[in-house]
C-alpha cells in the first residue's frame, strides 16, 4: 500500500468512529435523556380517550309514571372529518346514506353542515370533529346494513346512544316544567367543568326547567375508555375502561293525571274566553299545590310538545317557541307570568287591616263609589250594599270597603315618606303584610327561572320612577289621551306614594302583580295555618340501583304574621264565597257535600286591556290539602273563566262529577320504588292508570 493511502485510511478510521459515536450519542439523547417526553408524545399518538356517555336519569311523576324517559337508541352518525376527505367532498356518500335511511339528500346535507354565520337551521352546532347524528331512530336491520357497508360508507357509524323521549301525550307534557336539553356549548363546558363525551357527539345539557335545575344529578357520570389506535385511527385494542354511571331518577310531586286535567282546564278556560269575544285571551297559567308546598300540577298556556327537542328542532318550531309574537310557549307562565291578582289579593288586605287595628266585624260601609284624593273609585256593584263585616266584604268582594281601609291606613302611615327620595324608604304598612305573604320576591321553587312580581313598596317606587321618568316626561301630555294623562302625572309625581296608588294596590290592581305560583303558595299558607313554603316539584332523587339518594321537602320560607283566628276567619269567608258569594255561580251544582271548597274570585282591571280573570281556591275547607289557582289575563271576570277551570281541576283530583279520581280522597302517594333492574313500582294504592 502506498504511504498516502495508509495515512488517509487512518483518517477514515477516525471519521467512521466519529460517525458511530455521533449516532450513539444522538440515540442516547433521544431515548435516555428526553425519552419520557417522547413517551408522552407516543401516547398522544396512539391512545385515544373515549368518553362513554351515561344514560340520563328519568323524570317520574308522583306515582312513578315517566314524564321524561331516557332510552337507548341506535343512532347513525356521520364523521364529516372522514367523509369530506373524499375527492368529491363526500357528496356521493351522503346521498347514498340518505337513500339508505330514506331521507332526502338535501335534508342530509343540511343536517351535517356546520352552524356558522348565515347558515339557517337545521345545522350542526357541535364540533366539526364530532360525529354528527343524522338519524336517531334506526332499526336494528338498518343499523347492521350501515355497519356492513362500512367500506362504501367510511366515516359513517351506527351506535347505541342514549336518547331522551317524552312518553306522555302531547297535552300532558308539562313542557315548561320539564324544560329541555340542548347540545352543550363550549362556554358551558368550561363554566361547569363538564366532560365532553366525544362518543355520542351530542352532549346534551338541561337548559331550562327541571332538566336544568337537576342537571347535575340527572346527567350521571360519564365513563371513559382508553383505546389504542393505529396510524389511520382504527381502534386496535382497549387499554382501560371505566363504566359510566347512569344519572339519578328524579321523582316529582307532579301527578300526570292532575297535570293533564289542569292543562285541559286551562286551555278550556282560554278557549271559552276567546269564544266569549276576547281574542286577546291567548295565555294563562294554573298551579295545583299541596298545602305543604308540593307542586302537583303546573300548567302554562300556550304550550308545546317537548318531543320537538329530540333529534334537532326545526327552524319553524324554533321560531314558534321563541318568536317575539308574544306567545313564546317556552315561557313557564306559572312562575314567570306576572299578573294583577285582583280581588284574590283582598286576603292580604284583610290581614293588613287587622294588623293595623281594624276589627273583623266592622261594620264597614260598602257604597257604590268613593272619592279619594280627588279621584272617584267605583265598586263592581254600583249600588250601596250597606254596612258589613270583613267576612261579608270578602264574600261579595266589596272593593269600596278595602278602598276606605287602605285610604285610612295610608292616612295613618308614615306620611312624610310618601315622596320617595331614597331607595331605603320605609315600607308602607299594607305592603309590609303583602311582602310577608311571600309576594314581591322569589318563591325559591326548584326551577331555574322565576319572576318576583311586584309589591309597590316605596323603594320599588323609587327605582321605578328613576327608570321611567324620562320616558313618561317624553310621552305624557296634560290634555292628551287617558294614557298620556297618566304618563304626564307620573312624570310630575311618579315618585309620590299617592292615596290612589294605595287604594288600587289594596284590591290587587295598579302596580301589584304576582305570579300564579306566588298566589298559590300564599293561599297554601292561608290554608295550612300560616306556614309559607318554598314550593318544590322534585320529591326525591333515586339512584339507578333504587336507593333514595335524597328526599326533597319544601323548606319553610316564613310564617304569615297573622293569628290563627284571623286566618280561620278569612278561610270561613272564602268558603262562603263558593256557597253564596262571587264564586257561587261557577260552583252551582258542585257536590260541596263531598268536597267543601273555599276560594276567591279576582277580576283585575288592567289599563287598556280586558280584565285578568283569577280564581284561587283551597279544599277541603276543614283540613285543606290542596290549593288550585288559575290566572287568565285579558279574558274577563274571574268567576266566568278561571273559576270553572278550577272546578274542573278539583273534579279531576277528587273524582267528582263523573271524573276519575287522580288522588282518591286527596291522599298524596308515597314514593314510588325503583327495582335494581330499573322497573318502577307505583306506591301502594296508586296502581298505574293507563293513559
Amino acid at each position: 500500500m502506498i504511504p498516502a493511502s495508509r495515512r488517509r485510511l487512518a483518517v477514515l478510521h477516525v471519521i467512521v468512529a466519529a460517525l458511530l459515536i455521533g449516532l450513539g450519542g444522538r440515540v442516547w439523547y433521544l431515548q435516555v435523556r428526553t425519552g419520557t417526553a417522547y413517551a408522552s408524545l407516543a401516547r398522544q399518538d396512539q391512545v385515544r380517550q373515549v368518553v362513554v356517555p351515561p344514560v340520563r336519569g328519568q323524570i317520574l311523576d308522583d306515582v312513578g309514571r315517566p314524564l321524561v324517559r331516557n332510552r337507548s337508541s341506535l343512532v347513525v352518525s356521520v364523521n364529516m372529518a372522514a367523509v369530506s376527505r373524499q375527492p368529491d367532498g363526500g357528496a356521493a356518500e351522503l346521498s347514498k346514506l340518505a337513500r339508505l335511511l330514506g331521507m332526502r339528500a338535501a335534508a342530509m346535507r343540511a343536517k351535517v353542515r356546520l352552524c356558522t354565520a348565515g347558515v339557517p337551521q337545521p345545522c350542526w352546532a357541535g364540533s366539526p370533529y364530532q360525529p354528527i347524528p343524522v338519524d336517531e331512530h334506526v332499526s336494528d336491520r338498518l343499523a347492521v346494513q350501515v355497519l356492513e357497508s362500512h367500506s362504501q360508507l367510511p366515516g359513517v357509524t351506527a351506535q347505541v346512544q342514549p336518547v331522551v323521549s317524552y312518553p306522555g301525550p302531547a297535552s300532558t307534557a308539562a313542557a315548561q316544567v320539564l324544560g329541555y336539553l340542548q347540545p352543550i356549548t363550549a362556554q358551558e363546558v368550561k363554566q361547569r367543568h363538564l366532560t365532553v363525551t366525544g362518543f355520542s357527539g351530542v352532549d346534551l345539557v338541561g337548559q331550562s326547567g327541571l332538566e336544568a335545575q337537576y342537571d347535575q344529578q340527572l346527567r350521571g357520570t360519564p365513563g371513559s375508555r382508553e383505546v389504542s389506535v393505529n396510524a389511520v385511527g382504527n381502534v386496535i385494542g382497549t387499554i382501560r375502561q371505566a363504566s359510566p354511571k347512569a344519572g339519578d331518577t328524579l321523582v316529582t310531586s307532579i301527578n300526570s293525571a292532575v297535570q293533564q286535567d289542569t292543562e285541559r282546564a286551562l286551555a278550556g278556560a282560554i278557549h271559552r274566553a276567546q269564544a266569549a269575544g276576547n281574542p286577546g285571551a291567548t295565555s294563562g297559567a294554573a298551579v295545583v299545590m299541596s298545602t305543604t308546598g308540593r307542586v302537583i300540577a303546573m300548567a302554562s298556556y300556550p304550550t308545546y310538545n317537548p318531543a320537538i327537542w329530540t333529534g334537532g328542532i326545526t327552524r319553524r318550531e324554533f321560531r314558534r317557541l321563541f318568536g317575539s309574537s308574544g306567545s313564546e310557549p317556552v315561557l313557564n307562565r306559572a312562575t314567570q307570568g306576572e299578573y294583577a291578582p285582583g280581588s284574590t289579593w283582598k286576603v292580604t288586605s284583610t290581614a293588613a287591616a287587622v294588623a293595623a287595628g281594624y276589627s273583623l266585624a266592622g261594620p264597614y260601609a260598602c257604597p257604590g263609589s268613593v272619592s279619594i284624593g280627588g279621584r272617584v273609585f267605583n265598586n263592581d256593584t254600583p249600588s250601596n250594599s250597606g254596612a258589613m263585616s270583613l267576612h261579608q266584604a270578602l264574600v261579595v268582594s266589596c272593593d269600596t270597603v278595602f278602598y276606605e281601609l287602605a285610604y285610612d291606613i295610608w292616612l295613618k302611615d308614615h306620611r312624610n315618606a310618601d315622596t320617595v327620595t331614597s331607595p331605603h324608604a320605609r315600607v308602607q304598612e299594607m305592603q309590609k303584610m303583602e311582602l310577608a305573604w311571600g309576594f314581591g320576591r322569589d318563591t325559591g321553587i326548584d326551577l331555574p327561572e322565576e319572576s318576583t312580581g311586584t309589591v309597590p313598596t316605596r323603594a320599588w317606587l323609587y327605582d321605578f320612577y328613576r327608570q321611567y321618568k324620562s320616558f313618561w316626561c317624553k310621552n305624557g301630555r296634560a290634555g292628551g289621551t287617558y294614557l298620556q294623562q297618566i304618563e304626564y302625572d307620573d312624570c310630575q309625581s311618579g315618585n309620590v306614594w299617592t292615596p290612589g296608588q294605595a287604594v288600587n294596590a289594596a284590591i290587587g290592581q295598579g302596580y301589584v302583580t304576582v305570579t300564579p305560583l306566588q298566589l298559590a303558595r300564599a293561599y297554601a299558607a292561608l290554608a295550612n295555618g300560616g306556614t309559607l313554603y318554598s314550593p318544590r316539584i322534585g320529591e326525591a332523587l333515586i339512584s339507578p340501583a333504587g336507593h333514595v339518594v335524597r328526599r326533597i321537602t319544601p323548606p319553610v320560607a316564613g310564617h304569615l304574621p297573622v293569628s290563627r283566628r284571623v286566618l280561620a276567619y278569612i278561610r270561613g269567608a272564602l268558603a262562603d264565597v263558593i256557597t253564596q258569594g262571587t264564586g257561587a255561580p261557577a260552583f252551582g251544582g258542585f257536590p260541596l257535600g263531598k268536597l267543601q271548597i273555599a276560594g276567591k274570585t279576582g277580576t283585575a282591571q288592567v289599563v287598556g286591556k280586558v280584565a285578568t280573570s283569577v280564581f284561587a281556591s283551597f279544599a277541603p275547607v276543614r283540613h285543606p290539602k290542596y290549593v288550585v289557582v288559575v290566572m287568565v289575563p285579558d279574558s274577563g271576570f274571574g268567576a266566568d273563566f278561571s273559576a270553572p277551570a278550577v272546578r274542573q281541576i278539583w273534579d279531576g283530583i277528587y273524582g267528582l262529577e263523573g271524573h276519575k279520581a287522580a288522588l282518591p280522597g286527596g291522599r298524596l302517594p308515597g314514593l314510588p320504588k325503583i327495582t335494581p333492574t330499573g322497573n318502577v313500582v307505583a306506591p301502594a294504592g296508586f296502581a298505574r292508570r293507563k293513559s
Binding site: L20, V27, Q31, V32, G35, Q46
Partner: protein, 438 residues
Amino acid sequence: MSFPRNSSSLRDRRRASPYRGLAPVRPAGLRPRGLPPAGSGPAGLRGGAGRPAWPPRSLPRRILASCARLRKLDWILLAAVLALGLVGTLLVWSATQPSLLQAGADPRAYLKKQLLNIGLGLILMLAVSTLDYRQLRLLAPIGYGLSCLGLVVVLTPLGSVVNGAHSWISLPGGFQLEPSEYAKLSIVVVAAMILGELRPGDDRPRMRAVMAAVACSAVPLILVVLQPDLGVTILMMTMLAGLVVLSGIRLRWLAALAAAGGAGAVAAVNLHLLKSYQLSRLTSFMNPSADPRGTGYSAAQSKIAIGSGGLLGHGLFHGPLTAGNFVPEQHTDFIFSVAGEELGFAGAAVIIALLAVVFLRALRIAAQADDQFGMLVAAGIAIWFAVQSFVNIGMTIGIMPVTGLPLPFVSYGGSAMFADMIAIGMLQAVHRHLSIFS
C-alpha cells in the same frame, strides 16, 4: 459436514488428516494471526502463481479444501453480519405482523422471506469469498455492465415506480430487483480496479486514472440520478470521493476535484436537477415541524417511536407505535425505529455496536490488504456501509434527511441483502488472501 467449533476439534481432525505432512511450509513469522501454527490449511489452493502439484481432485478432497478456505474467513465479521441479520429478521417480523394479521395474511410472511433472503445472501457471500479477489477484476466489467443495464431497464416501462422513483424491476413470481444496490457494488469494484492499477514506476495514481474512475462511475450515477434516487446518488458520490482520496492522489488534485464537485452541487440545485419532493425532503429535514403530516411525518413519528423506547424499550412485538404502523416503511427504511421503540437504547446500541464491528473489520481488512486494489475494495465497502448506515439511522433519529437507503443487513429486502452479502464476500476474499500471505 459441519465447521469445527473450536480449536481442539480442529487439531484432532488435523492430526487425522493424511495430507498433513503435505502442507507447504511457510516461514513461521508469516503465520496468520489467530490460526493454529502449523498445517493451517492447504495453501496450495490459493490462486495465482506457485500453484503446487497438489490440487485435490476427488470430491471429498474438494469439499475438505473449500472447508479449509472457509477457515480463513473473518469470523468476527461474519458473526456480526449474522447477528445483524438475525436482529433485523426479528424486527421485520415484529414490524409486519400486526398489519399482516389485520389483512388476514400469514403473519410470518415477511419473516420467512427475510430468512430466505439471508440464506441466499449467505450462499452468495460464501461463493464470493472463495474466489480469489483478484479474479474480481475479471468479473467486475460483467457486474458493471449488468448493473448499468438494470439501471437502464428500471427507467423503461419495465421498472415500477415506488415513492416517485423508478427503482425496481418487477420479476415474475412476486420478486423484485433493485439494480441500484448492485450498482453500488460495481462502482466500488470498478473504481478500485482503475485507481488501484498503478503504472510501473508510479507511486500514486495519475489524474488520468482518477478521470477514468469518475467517468466509469458517472454512467451508473447518472442513471441513478434519473430514477431519481437521492440517497443512492449521495452514497455513490461519497464512495467515489472516498476511493479517490484513498487511492493516494496528490492533495492538490484532490482540492481541484473538491472544487469541481462543489460547483457541480451548486449547479444541481440551481438548474433544478433535484425533484421537488427531494427538495421538500431536504427542507422538511431542516424544519420538520413545518409540515408534520407531509414529508416531515415519517421523521417526526420515527423520532417519537425511538424516543419512547427509553432505556430498555417496550419489548419485541410490544411496541405500540410499531403495532399501530405509525412510522411508514418501518420494515425497510425505518427499521431502526422498530429497534428503538421495542428494544430501547440497549438494543439500538447493540445494533450500532454490531455495525461498528462490521465497519472496523472492513477497515482492518483494508489496512492489511497487500495491494491497492484489495485495500480500495475493502475500504470502499467500509465507506459504503458506514455512510449508508449513518444516513439511514440518522434519518430515523432526525439528524439526516429522509432518503430511501436501507439499513445494511437489518432492513427487509432481497436486492439490498444480496448486494451487502456479496460485499461481505468480497471482504472475506480480500481477508482470506491476506491471511494466507501476510
